[in-house]
Symmetry: C2
Subunit: 402 residues, 2 copies
Amino acid sequence: MIISPLAPASTPDLPPVDGVRLAAARSGIRYKDRADILLVELTEGTSAAGVFTQSLTASAPVLACRDALKSGKARALVVNSGNANAFTGSVGVASVARVVDKCCALLGCAPSEIYTASTGVIGERLPDEKITSILHKTADTLSESAWNDAARAIMTTDTYPKMATRQAQIGGARVTINGIAKGSGMIAPDMATMLAFVFTDATIPAPVLQTMLKEANASTFNCITVDGDTSTSDTLLLFATGKAKNPAGDYTDFKKALHEVLHELALHIVKDGEGAEKLVTITVTGAASDAAAKRIGMSIANSPLVKTAIAAGDANWGRIVMAVGKAGEKADRDKLMITIGGVTVAKNGEADPNYRESQIETHMKGRDIDINVDVGVGKGKATVYTCDLTHRYIDINGSYRT
Amino acid sequence: MIISPLAPASTPDLPPVDGVRLAAARSGIRYKDRADILLVELTEGTSAAGVFTQSLTASAPVLACRDALKSGKARALVVNSGNANAFTGSVGVASVARVVDKCCALLGCAPSEIYTASTGVIGERLPDEKITSILHKTADTLSESAWNDAARAIMTTDTYPKMATRQAQIGGARVTINGIAKGSGMIAPDMATMLAFVFTDATIPAPVLQTMLKEANASTFNCITVDGDTSTSDTLLLFATGKAKNPAGDYTDFKKALHEVLHELALHIVKDGEGAEKLVTITVTGAASDAAAKRIGMSIANSPLVKTAIAAGDANWGRIVMAVGKAGEKADRDKLMITIGGVTVAKNGEADPNYRESQIETHMKGRDIDINVDVGVGKGKATVYTCDLTHRYIDINGSYRT
């Protein structure tokens, strides 16, 4: 496998989060030579928050997670890669129930405290017996330090494991936030994203946790796209074990740290976008609203013509104009300004007379492409992230099942 | 250049349309070794209808055409390929005006009777003097039979010229409809399409013509997509010279023939989609409305994951489920039925237990892929057309300007 050229030089060492133990195992559902199951045990009293795909064909685990989340409590998370258990009807729902039941027996807890997630091929029955038969043995290997193994076990077409960590202060107590994520294709999160799991030892009630998670998600996972295709399985879960025993209080610092963890994981997903060679940051300003700015940004970020031009190192900014035009949001054609790599290429509705392509040649050849578009009608702004569209995207997706 | 494998074995010979004369010429705007200018002279009394891109960054020629169309009359059409004259500000508007003025002087008519269209790179100034300087000489070569030359002069990344012809009866008189079109990438028409020009000798008042054109366009050009990118220059014009002198009357047969011409041209654009190897026909039934069915169909047709799987001959129908789920339209997951090549692959919200991939292996390897999706909530239906997403799309779009 070719590792994404945008992968970090090294993966971070995640510290333990008090109240969280992890174990990875091999079930052989699809991948024969690597771990494909993740079991996370959470201490009693852990509160939970989550956001999920808005897809109308959401997977069985997503439906089950939504249900469980009503309790606001969590004792375990079970994830498998290689099979999404999506579009599997009542059989798929029964599969989730059997995994949850087995987990309840193991930990002595209620079904509403177990969360599951599955990622991989859509429409194939999940052979849940391969999970339930090894859960007990897997629990024997639970450890506070298996973060790298955990991040690897949930990968599908990912080329590197995705992890992030931060520390924050709440009411004078120090808390840790660890996050892991997977995702590479079928990335156009709509209120949620691919699989991402975030753990903290902070003491935070579930409703507060949920509000903070939704807010941080809006400007992180919900602002990335690889291919404009929204998954059936997008799941972002945040668990707070409460072991830090911080007082309730000012969450400003925690929110900032949570945002940083989510932002870092979201960027990792783009950097590991299928076939990605370049990270593209698109900032739209001057829109009628922030939502309008995001839609214009996503129209640019999802344009195959913009993405293939960037892959080729071609500053074909006319395609950016096209993508602004098709977004369906207000834009003043005669005030439109486009900046690439800090150089103004177009303004006042036409090419900047002082612009020469040689000015941004080096920028276009680099790994990080920065595009700024001001549409000249208001104060709305948004930043979205995507990658380029290369031959490898087609290779990966033509051969995924075979 | 590699000719699309979906190109017809031979192009049709278009008969003359009384009142229409055509000439192609070389201006050297971009292409050095081929004709890139089309001049069409229309007889006095010709009525006109048109639909255009809904892009907010519409090109200067599109703005001028919309204006001209208010007259309902036409005497000439001037088209250039290689430069779209889009996002060129007031300079672009002035370019169109100079071409129109020159044409008026040549034919002795009003500016509101001249239509122009430009296709090619966005954001570069149109060197209109290269057009105006040869218009007079070009007019000397006008002929009733230059349909093939005309269809070739308007091509950009097209690999073959696109033509269609039909005859129809109006009130006992026989009329002819000829159409030519171009388009290969940036194809996701929104109320209109790339360039398509249709000519008839029928006598039909402009308002009637406009109604018929809009209706036929809705189920033809507006139901195709190559890459989900909507052009700044989409233009579909229909000219009726009135030379057939048919009585006003029952247009049923004419409408049917017009629909056939537009349908044939629209399919040609998909078959010549950049990098296309397969024509994909997607029929959605059981939707809440026809509009909902079309949006679901377009969600499938624009999914890069569906398109790359089809390119690889992989019946990865789970991606079709994903695309239905992300469309944002009502669908009953537990009634969803998917048929590929006439074989039921999924029904009642899961894989059909009787389905084996070997049943559709041959179909998936073929040039024509048929997908039917019933979403089980109502009576809405639509058929949309697209092509697969191959390596050649990336090659073409990475090197377009160089």
